[in-house]
């Protein structure tokens, strides 16, 4: 019996997970005390332990293997599947699944131009958010002069609730290294590699470090790789966790040891990037796709996806959804399939209200967009974006103004502060949204928001600010009535914004059990035992503890 620790398998909601091979028995939600039973079942007859299998939340039926679980059924896990099969610390494991075969092929059988042609015709586009065609980027970088060509992997994943790149770096670091070496061969010109990864990802840094060292010792990095004459090595640089350093020019400034601030990109980084040398930067997920394309061919890859967006995309599916986790889906899948078939629908049987795609600076999409195919263009057209792959699902209890406010404050905090429109524009936008959710919104605020969105989006220096108003723009477009209710009727329809709601106790339902009285943190509830209680609105801080603690459904929010 061999026990193999693996990387993330995606179904966070039900972790820790384990699969037993060769049968592929898939256990979920394991605890240490389950282990004797698991081991015993393996030793005895190999039968599955029924109670540890995945159970359908509605029918209650159990599923034996990973493939049978609905969460995985509609996924196409080109990149993530291997996370469940290999020990990320083992080069042998990676080699056993065909790892570095693509590199061997690229180094011995292919010319740089051929590699670029293959990537170009695969239709691979940048997975970090921009969606720029990868092959064309490589080609421009190859053509640029310069003493060194820098090959960078952007692993500065800063979106709240997003961990796609982390799971690849932690679970399958060799796939990224292999992609980068293939890129180095294609781009040429004295290539030198960096992986810029967040310091908050210690396991990713650790596993990548191990992988780089092992690859170096095996002759897969360093001088004369696999006897091909290619010299290329990779160094890890840890980022301090600034969201803006995910922007390519800010990342390069940070790599140079300077403050991570973007610069204007009228001169492209493929011509003058890191240390003013031609620099090719791709995201973790983009690099991990490269070996697959080289081994299986551009034709195979381009069959997956839509006309303009090829391959798969990893999303981190979070929010008010039953199956939170990392999902990898073919481009062109609909939002409905992701939310309902893979995500298992909305938690607690609530109604779907919106889904935010593309991270904090993406847009919020609604019910009417559920059948939209998920690809770069479709998302752009409706005011959102693919981004790096965050996907936050919201239910009917979510206030859209509150959501917009949350993201705007996040981005305001993460603005580098270099340019006025982002630094001050985002702060002012936050102020207006604060005012509205506090019940102090006034006539003209919606127009002011629109003006701010325009100036931040159009007149700022970098792409971070360019997309930053998206959460406000889309919520205003699709949920304008909620903004108006906040401003003109002083009501929060979702009953979320504290400045606009009041709690009171329904006398007919209150049994005088005293639980709310005991739990209220500001002692604003009065009443004798077994008599109806009363909330003093002037003292109430609207924390909702009474609502949560009442067993008789007597607390009303208005």
């Amino acid at each position: 019996m061999e026990i193999r620790p693996t990387g993330c398998r995606g179904l966070c909601e039900l972790g820790p997970l384990m699969s037993i091979h060769p049968k592929g028995i898939f256990y979920v939600g394991l605890k240490p005390e389950d282990m004797p039973e698991v081991v015993e079942s393996i030793m005895n007859n190999g039968e599955a332990v029924e109670r540890l299998l995945y159970k359908d939340p509605i029918t209650g039926e159990s599923e034996l293997t990973e493939e049978d679980v609905p969460f995985y059924k509609k996924q196409v896990r080109l990149l993530l599947a291997q996370n469940g099969h290999i020990n990320p610390e083992s080069l042998d494991d990676y080699l056993a699944i065909g790892g570095y075969e693509a590199l061997a092929k690229a180094l011995s059988d292919m010319q740089p131009e051929q590699i670029i042609e293959e990537i170009k015709s695969s239709g691979l586009r940048g997975r970090g958010g921009g969606g720029f065609p990868t092959g064309r980027k490589w080609e421009s970088c190859r053509r640029a002069g310069g003493d060194v060509h820098y090959i960078i992997c952007n692993g500065d994943e800063g979106d709240p609730g997003a961990y796609m790149d982390r799971s690849i770096l932690e679970g399958n670091p060799h796939s990224v290294i292999e992609g980068m070496v293939i890129g180095a061969k294609a781009i040429g010109g004295n290539p030198k590699g960096y992986v810029y990864v967040r310091n908050e990802y210690p396991l990713a840094v650790n596993n990548l470090n191990l992988a780089i060292n092992v690859a170096r010792r095996a002759g897969l990095l360093g001088k004369d790789i696999l006897g091909s004459g290619l010299d290329f090595d990779i160094e890890i640089r840890r980022g301090g966790g600034a969201f803006v350093c995910g922007e390519s020019t800010a990342l390069m400034a940070s790599l140079e040891g300077k403050v991570g601030e973007p610069r204007a990109k009228h001169i492209h980084t493929v011509e003058s990037g890191l240390y003013d040398q031609p620099t090719n930067l791709n995201n973790v997920e983009t690099w991990a796709n490269v070996p697959l394309i080289i081994s299986k061919g551009a034709g195979w890859f381009s069959k997956i996806g839509t006309k303009s967006s090829k391959g798969t995309k990893v999303f981190s599916l979070v929010g008010k959804i039953n199956n939170t986790g990392l999902v990898e889906v073919p481009m062109g899948i609909t939002l409905r399939e992701i939310v309902y078939d893979i995500g298992g629908g909305i938690r607690g049987g609530k109604k779907f209200k919106g889904v935010q795609t593309g991270g904090p600076s993406g847009g919020v999409l609604t019910e009417e967009h559920l059948d939209l195919p998920v690809d770069f263009e479709s998302l752009d057209e409706v005011g959102s974006m693919m981004g790096s792959g965050g996907m936050i699902v919201m239910d009917e209890d979510t206030c859209m103004v509150d959501v917009a406010k949350y993201f705007i404050h996040f981005l305001e905090e993460e603005s580098c502060g270099k340019c006025t429109t982002c630094r001050d524009g985002m702060r002012r936008l936050g102020q207006v949204l604060d005012r509205i959710t506090d019940g102090k919104g006034r006539d003209g605020d919606i127009e002011l928001i629109e003006d701010l969105c325009e100036v931040i989006g159009e007149a700022s220096l970098c792409a971070l600010a360019g997309t930053a108003p998206n959460p406000v723009k889309t919520t205003l477009k699709y949920f304008r009535d909620e903004y108006e209710a906040h401003i003109y009727k002083k009501k929060c329809p979702a009953k979320v914004c504290k400045g606009l709601i009041t709690f009171r106790i329904d006398k007919r339902k209150c049994t005088g059990c005293h639980v709310c009285y005991v739990n209220c943190p500001v002692n604003c509830i009065s009443g004798k035992k077994k008599e109806a209680h009363v909330i003093d609105s002037s003292k109430c801080i609207r924390c909702g503890v009474c609502l949560e603690s009442c067993k008789f459904d007597a607390v009303r929010v208005k």
Binding site: I267, E412, T420, R423, D424, G444, A459
Partner: protein
């Protein structure tokens, strides 16, 4: 070399500004070109002597390229593409500039320079609550760049991120490298930097400098430390440096 000869000898880019055909050497920044043409463009963070930065966002123009129009700041836009058209006075440009100006005004209500510029653009008052305590500094970074690129002593720096951004000496302590030259003071577009001179002593950024008298007219004119620094850096006898600019011009 005159500019005309330069244009002829170099790679020249032909483009349009507000419908008029013009030409410029490849790679030149757009804002100085436009200003040279006599076009009025508001700006606060631009200075010919230092590298462009793009912080104040006022010098916005519209660039039409392959039929698509984009807004960009002209200070850090290098002219490199034939056939583009630059529009400096469209409604869109003016609307956006006004909005940027409104942000500046609300952030720095103490600055008379900002208020004048804003009023000239037709803004009566900003629609935002006015900030307190930001003084006159608009974080344009001219002082930092002048100190880095012209003076070369790197005494000033940005600190903090986003809304917490500030300009000052490292750790807000008197800088060990500042030579008291006052270049930051003279180049600040909003007069935000304080420099006091009294009884032969100059005080700037919390550091005091003894002043030298001009060997011709006898007036105080520069910190002794600055002259010593210049003498050492340019290997010039200090005696030659002890003449003020006024007497030097005579």
């Amino acid at each position: 070399m005159t500019r005309e000869v330069f244009i002829m000898s170099q790679n020249v880019i032909r483009y349009k500004v507000n419908g008029k055909d013009v030409a410029a050497p490849r790679g030149r920044m757009l804002l100085p070109e436009l200003l040279d043409m006599g076009i009025e463009i508001p700006t606060l963070c631009h200075m010919d002597e230092i590298s462009p930065y793009g912080a104040c966002r006022l010098c916005l123009v519209e660039i039409v390229r392959k039929g698509r129009s984009n807004i960009t700041t002209s200070c850090n836009y290098a002219i490199a593409e034939e056939g583009i058209e630059v529009l400096t006075d469209t409604d869109r440009v003016k609307r956006l500039r006004r909005m940027v100006m409104e942000l500046h005004w609300a952030r720095n209500p103490e600055s008379d320079v900002i208020e004048r510029m804003a009023r000239k653009m037709g803004i009566e008052k900003p629609r935002f609550p006015l900030d307190e305590g930001n003084g006159k500094c608009i974080l344009c970074g001219i002082c930092v760049r002048v100190c880095d690129e012209v003076v070369g002593v790197h005494a000033l720096t940005f600190s903090g991120r986003g809304v917490h951004r500030e300009i000052g000496t490292p750790f807000d302590e008197p800088s060990s490298t500042c030579i008291g030259c006052g270049a930051c003071y003279w180049s600040c577009p909003t007069n935000a930097i304080e420099m006091k001179e009294k009884g032969g002593v100059r005080e700037i950024w919390g550091k005091k400098f003894d002043m030298e008298r001009c060997s011709v007219c006898g007036e105080y004119f520069a910190p002794k430390y600055q002259l010593e620094y210049l003498a050492k850096t340019f290997k010039t006898p200090i005696k030659e440096l002890r003449v003020c600019m006024t007497c030097r011009g005579k």
